[in-house]
């Protein structure tokens, strides 16, 4: 799949870039970081125009993200019921919705460019949790623009080292995801232990 996608980018340029980033943003696992890095390399070789590529890649990602959000928001009662059951009931869903309203913006923003594997899940969860659509769109567009600029820019600078750069960024992203998980789990684990200790003591 990776070979075909990159061959399509090499051969057809911008239309392939737009289509692939849109499909990936909906949730299909495609090598988007590498695609954007290779786009940067093609720009440095004079094959593609920088701002045209940035505009199309950002637009494709934002449209794909909106589709993911819409599936969560208006995907039908069965999907909402399943999500409610997964969370543990309507009260939990209400709590999740209020948390999403409070913390949703930064979550959407950082999942566009820093922890990209979480992006499609955040889109779906934002829709399910009823995060306001206009705010979702604004955070999404800013994050996607920044992400596209970072990856295409890096590809332009390291235009002769695209595969090595992709390998490094991929491992770095997973290291950040694992670190965030460790911080979250550690905080949950120790706060629960301290609460229990305080209860026992008091």
């Amino acid at each position: 799949m990776r070979e075909q996608i990159l061959a399509a980018l090499s051969q057809y340029g911008s239309p392939a870039l737009f289509a692939v980033v849109m499909i990936a943003a909906i949730g299909v696992p495609l090598p988007i970081t590498l695609l954007l890095i290779v786009t940067g390399s093609l720009i440095s070789q004079g094959v593609m125009n920088f701002w045209w590529a940035i505009g199309l890649a950002t637009a494709g990602s934002v449209i794909g993200d909106q589709i993911g959000y819409a599936i969560g928001r208006w995907g039908g009662s069965e999907l909402v019921d399943r999500f409610t059951r997964l969370l543990g009931g309507p009260e939990r869903l209400e709590k999740a919705q209020s948390t999403a309203r409070r913390w949703g913006g930064p979550g959407i923003f950082f999942s566009r460019w820093l922890v990209t594997p979480l992006g499609p899940w955040v889109n779906l969860a934002s829709g399910l949790a009823g995060y306001p659509w206009m705010r979702f769109l604004v955070w999404d567009a800013i994050g996607e623009l920044l992400g596209t600029l970072i990856f295409v820019g890096l590809g332009k600078v390291f235009s002769d080292r695209v595969l090595a750069l992709d390998a490094m960024l991929s491992d770095l992203t997973w290291a950040i995801v694992a670190l965030l998980a460790a911080v979250f789990l550690g905080w949950k684990f120790f706060s629960s232990a301290w609460t229990k200790q305080a209860d026992d003591g008091g």
């Binding site: 090499s10 051969q11 002769d160 997973w174 290291a175 789990l185």
Partner: protein, 107 residues
């Protein structure tokens, strides 16, 4: 997180997350160190000008190595060239690698 089994799952997940942070962080660092000196492997999705750019050789040298006249612009991936020329793509890649090894380095 009241039950001991729940605590155990949480602790295990925490250990896996910490281990993942170190493993992926170490791998990222190793890739970063290699970025300056490791040559990019040639893949079937790359075009001849792309290979020339990543290996700092002139495209004409590579076209000559695979027995084709230079063409600008040429966005065809090696896979398509191989299909058009009725040759295995692995042969093309070998010919390019050999030409790169013997070519004077370009800009």
């Amino acid at each position: 997180m009241g039950r001991p089994s729940q605590k155990l799952i949480f602790a295990l997940a925490l250990i896996v997350a910490i281990a993942g942070t170190f493993v992926f962080g170490f791998r990222a660092g190793r890739h970063a160190r290699r970025i300056h000196w490791q040559n990019e492997p040639i893949h079937a999705w790359m075009s001849v000008p792309f290979v020339a750019h990543t290996h700092h050789v002139r495209p004409e040298v590579l076209y000559q190595a695979i027995g084709l006249p230079p063409r600008q612009p040429d966005h065809r991936p090696l896979r398509r060239i191989a299909r058009e020329e009725k040759r295995p793509v692995a042969d093309l890649i070998r010919a390019l690698e050999s030409a790169i090894a013997n070519a004077p380095k370009g800009p």
